[in-house]
């Protein structure tokens, strides 16, 4: 790699964790450079996806320097960097600067920093697989392209974990026309994936049921290990498990900690230090600890609930067993019976290295608009030069001249020339350069740069001062002062909300209110779905080897007896008519989002044939279409509704009919600067500029229906959420499968969770819902025994 780097080449380095990727990328530029005490500018720019990693990275990069006798300075530049340090970096830039995609964009807005960026020779993008496929990745692609204009000799090196298509990952980082070198270190890591076997298997899942039933077994496992990381899939689940553990073991209060993305950075850092020092017995965490430096004391990783995807599970497993030759081990704690099956399926898929593909997002006009304003605030740009710079990226290689002109219009005039945006001011054309001249606009734009991932949030703060973290505005909005909620592992009483700060004090009693965060729920990956169907097929052919599946036999036999088993060859549809109405259950095993796509498509087409309304409920395995009046369901009808003909127009129609595009617009509006980010302690002007993205969506639809950002929200639903390429694949699979239509008398193990989840959204009183669901669950449990 050093040879390639010294020759001025760019590329992608793929190697497992703990193999010295960091050193490999770092020492090349360091050894090559003349040792200078007073740098003239930054030589190495190191981008990391999480600012929490920057501090450890600084230490890791610093370590070999003294050994080499180098006088290089390594500094950070993230949202946590102090103002004093930031000012010093302007006058005395370090040789190496560690930053995040957002902070890098922010650097481009300071004219004084641009001089220091002109000297950058190497751009290292750490954990590129994490950024790839997200809008932050697009933001980085654009920033990298601009850096190449500032410093034409720039080399770009990505560091990435194993992905199915590494050459594509490299092309996305470098731009499609740039040559690069792909360096792969063979993976030698072994993984062991096993399930925590519950004493009794037949517990039925329903929405909202978080499965604390295995708590005693989990406590025993924690007791047996040295340091345990307990991963959950959502922040709310983490809060609940933390509560459950410390209430069961009061003496663990000081050695058990909670770590998730909404907890204040200072508190998180304390937890990370505790992990490194080995003073903690257990940390309950979310994806916030997926990445980053190793914590050597960690010897045990538990995953609560479905692993959702293979890559993520392996990444989490990799947090244990750091000694060379030792396997990485993860124990999955199922929260309901079918997750046992997912565990076995994950093991098989991991053995085959059937990892989820990641593709870069293309044509995200919101990110482009944000980037153009960023550059306009900094140095300003010439439209012709910028067009070539942007076209050179993977994300915008297919940008059309019309789209480009629209984005320019959007940032200068507010919208296309045909629309009226009087008095709009943001970017202006001065001497054929696009610039932002007013300082208030520049300031507002800087505030909005960091908002690609965060949604409107409210800081949670003690009355006496001191921040605990943040929660979504919508959650706090539902609470009244005096009410108690759980956050950061504590019971808190809401005192008041003022200027986007929720003031709280400690509460004595506990509460059932746990904040929910949007976008936290990941769908089951296609790789894992496939592996699940394979396992079910093996069961059908009486080939059961996995202990998890063996434990599940009573349940699977019940499913087989009441209905049938879906497999890769057999598409199962269950039809149930009861007092409530008419239920159609379909099981593509395609993950929640794709299942939702299939469901809305089928309901649209069914309603087109004979007008009726369907209620749709989806989970990772399948979906339910429910309607009150009976409907004639034949195999021919089902095949017609799920056909791939007219797919895109019909999908667009179903997106328009649903709320999907409006929901997708939330992020787009924020990134493009149409809604103010929920920055804590905002001033009066900023309060007067508050508007919800839904309202903005309505106003645009009415007064500027050709606004390309509206179009983008539809395209994004189509591409990203429904993923019409993958959706077509799902539908093609359905077409090629044999359909088994089972008319069922009562709910089956597969249909029960869907039914229960829909019932929950329809019934107003929680009590009646709970008792009906429990009654039905008991019936199924009795049958399975």
């Amino acid at each position: 790699m050093w040879r390639a780097s010294w020759a001025g080449e760019s590329g992608l380095l793929n190697a497992g964790t703990g193999t010295g990727k960091t050193l490999a990328a770092w020492l090349g530029p360091v050894l090559e450079a003349p040792d200078e005490r007073e740098p003239t500018g930054i030589r190495v720019l190191w981008v990391t996806p999480l600012r929490a990693l920057a501090r450890d990275l600084e230490a890791a990069l610093h370590e070999p320097l003294s050994f080499l006798g180098s006088h290089w300075r390594v500094e950070q530049r993230t949202g946590d960097t102090s103002a004093a340090r930031r000012t010093r970096q302007k006058s005395r830039p370090p040789q190496a600067l560690i930053t995040t995609p957002e902070s890098l964009s922010l650097l481009l807005t300071y004219p004084e920093m641009l001089a220091a960026l002109r000297t950058v020779e190497t751009l290292v993008v750490d954990e590129w697989h994490e950024l790839l496929g997200s809008k932050r990745g697009v933001q980085l692609e654009l920033a990298a392209a601009h850096l190449r204009t500032l410093s034409p000799r720039l080399r770009t090196w990505g560091l990435s974990a194993t992905l199915p298509d590494l050459p594509a990952a490299m092309r996305t980082l470098l731009g499609p026309s740039r040559e690069g070198r792909l360096i792969c270190a063979p993976a030698t890591k072994r993984y062991e994936i096993e399930a925590l076997m519950p004493p009794s298997v037949v517990r039925f899942p329903w929405a909202g049921h978080l499965g604390i039933t295995l708590l005693p077994e989990v406590l025993r496992l924690i007791e047996g290990g040295q340091t345990t990381l307990l991963f959950t899939n959502t922040r709310s689940q983490a809060e609940l498990w933390y509560q459950a553990i410390v209430s069961a073991r009061l003496d663990w209060l000081t050695t058990t900690a909670l770590h998730h993305g909404s907890i204040d950075a200072k508190i998180r850092r304390k937890v990370e230090d505790g992990l490194k020092a080995g003073t903690l017995r257990c940390v309950v965490c979310t994806s916030s600890l997926d990445l980053g430096v190793d914590f050597p004391p960690v010897d045990q990783v538990l995953q609560i609930g479905s692993p959702k995807g293979i890559s993520r599970l392996l990444q989490r497993a990799g947090r244990s067993g750091h000694r060379p030759g030792e396997p990485s081990r993860v124990t999955i704690v199922p929260t309901h019976a079918l997750e046992l099956l997912e565990c076995a399926a994950a093991r098989h898929a991991a053995a085959r290295l059937d990892l989820e593909p990641r593709r870069g997002i293309t044509l995200a006009l919101d990110v482009l608009a944000q980037h153009l304003v960023t550059v306009a605030v900094g140095s300003g740009f010439d439209a012709h030069e910028m067009w070539h710079e942007v076209k050179g990226t993977h994300a915008f290689a297919d940008l059309t001249a019309t789209q480009w002109q629209w984005v320019l219009d959007f940032i200068t005039r507010g919208g296309s020339a045909l629309q009226s945006y009087p008095q709009f001011r943001r970017v202006t054309l001065v001497d054929s350069r696009y610039v932002v001249t007013q300082s208030d606009l520049a300031r507002r734009h800087r505030l909005s740069i960091g908002t690609i991932t965060s949604s409107a949030s409210v800081a949670v703060s003690w009355l006496k001062g001191g921040t605990l973290g943040n929660v979504e505005e919508a959650f706090i909005g539902r609470l009244r002062p005096g009410e108690v909620f759980i956050f950061g592992g504590r019971s808190l009483r809401l005192v008041r909300v003022r200027d986007a700060v929720a003031y709280v004090r400690l509460a004595q009693q506990t509460s059932r209110f746990v904040p929910r965060w949007q976008g936290a729920r990941m769908p089951l990956s296609t790789s894992l779905g496939r592996a699940l169907l394979d396992l079910l097929g093996d069961f059908g052919e009486h080939r059961v080897i996995d202990p998890e599946v063996r434990l599940l036999l009573p349940l699977l036999r019940l499913q087989e007896q009441l209905s049938a088993i879906p497999t890769r060859r057999q598409m199962l549809t269950e039809i149930l008519q009861n007092r409530e109405g008419f239920h159609i259950f379909v099981y593509p095993f395609a993950g929640r989002f794709l299942n939702e796509g299939v469901a809305s498509l089928m309901s649209l087409r069914a309603a087109r044939e004979s007008p009726r309304t369907f209620a749709i409920m989806t989970n990772d395995y399948g979906f339910e279409l429910f309607c009150e009046e009976p409907i004639d369901v034949s195999e021919a009808a089902l095949r017609r509704w799920s056909s791939t003909e007219h797919l895109v127009p019909d999908l667009l129609a179903s997106i328009n009919a649903s709320d999907l595009a409006r929901r997708q617009f939330r992020d787009i509006a924020r990134i493009a600067g149409l809604v103010d980010p929920g920055t804590p302690r905002r001033g009066k002007t900023s309060r007067q500029l508050q508007v919800s993205s839904g309202l903005m969506f309505d106003v645009l639809e009415r007064h500027d229906p050709h606004n390309m950002l509206l179009e983008q929200s539809r395209t994004e639903v189509l591409d990203a959420q429904l993923d019409h390429v993958q959706l077509r694949q799902v539908l093609e699979n359905m077409r090629d499968q044999a359909w088994r239509i089972a008319c069922i008398e009562r709910l089956t193990p597969l249909s029960f969770p869907l039914w229960a989840a829909r019932l929950q959204t329809q019934t107003l009183s929680t009590e009646s819902w709970q008792s009906r669901v429990e009654r039905e669950a008991r019936r199924l449990e009795k049958l399975a025994r």
Binding site: F410, G414, G415, Q419, S420, Y421, P422, Q423, F424, R425, R426, D440, L441, R444, H445, G477, A615, D659, R663, A672, G673, L674, V675, D676, T685, Q688, L689, Q690, V691, S692, G694, L695, M696, D698, V699, L700, R702, H703, D704, N707, T761, Q762
Partner: protein, 221 residues
């Protein structure tokens, strides 16, 4: 244009219209709240690309309801302007032209919190009323919770809250509609301006909410 709900307040009739307006029938008076004119222009001046046009539609809708109900008076219950306007701005000219076209209608604005700075720059050509406007059995005010409590026997008609309700079965994805919020001794009007947000209200005992529009006024609870 049709009313679907008529409230009887001590012998006086208040009609609720899906256009987010109410009419005091006996006095031929249209009642609206929170028009927030000039809001989208303020956004544009701060670099937020909101298209123009919603103010214009709001104003013509308001004129239409005044004409259709043959009203002779309009009371705006505060937050007439979203932020102070400059006298030479296009928005100010538009508001003036609109008022001129309604010269046979008496227009009264009960000042709200957003109107506070309004007189500094430019004052629209209509009657401003600072504080509560009392016309028994009614008291007209912007924010019912902040107004003076004297004459508490009066029925308070107010705005400020921008009440909305979620309708439909689902919990989080249910669409929001602006509502009239009828309380024990008062009525909170929905925000008239289309480019305004809203606060979800949950009616207490003895309170009712009525969804405004799109075609009808519908009693929800």
């Amino acid at each position: 244009m049709s009313e679907d709900v008529a409230l009887d307040i001590e012998g006086e009739t208040v009609l609720l219209y899906p256009e987010r307006a109410a009419v005091w029938r006996e006095r031929r008076t249209v009642l609206v709240a929170d028009t927030h004119f000039g809001k989208s222009a303020l956004f544009r001046r701060h670099g937020v690309a909101v298209p123009d046009g919603s103010d214009e539609l709001d104003r013509s809708r308001l004129a239409r309801i005044i004409r259709a109900t043959r009203s002779i008076r309009l009371i705006i219950l505060g937050d007439f302007l979203h932020a102070p306007l400059a006298g030479d701005s296009r928005e100010a000219a538009d508001v003036e032209a609109w008022c001129a076209a309604l010269d046979d209608v008496e227009i009264v604005v009960v000042a709200g919190n957003h109107d506070r700075g309004a007189p500094d720059l430019w004052r629209p050509p209509l009657h401003w009323h600072i504080g509560d406007l009392v016309e028994p059995p009614f008291r007209f005010t912007h924010d019912a919770d902040r107004s003076v409590r004297e004459g508490s026997a009066l029925f308070t008609v107010s705005g400020h809250v921008h009440p909305v309700a979620r309708i439909g079965a689902g919990r989080t994805r249910a669409p929001r509609v602006p509502v009239f919020w009828k309380r024990q001794c008062g009525l909170v009007l929905p925000a008239f301006g289309v480019f305004t947000g809203g606060a979800v209200v949950i009616p207490g005992a003895g309170e009712q909410i009525y969804a405004a529009g799109p075609e009808r006024v519908l009693r929800l609870r």
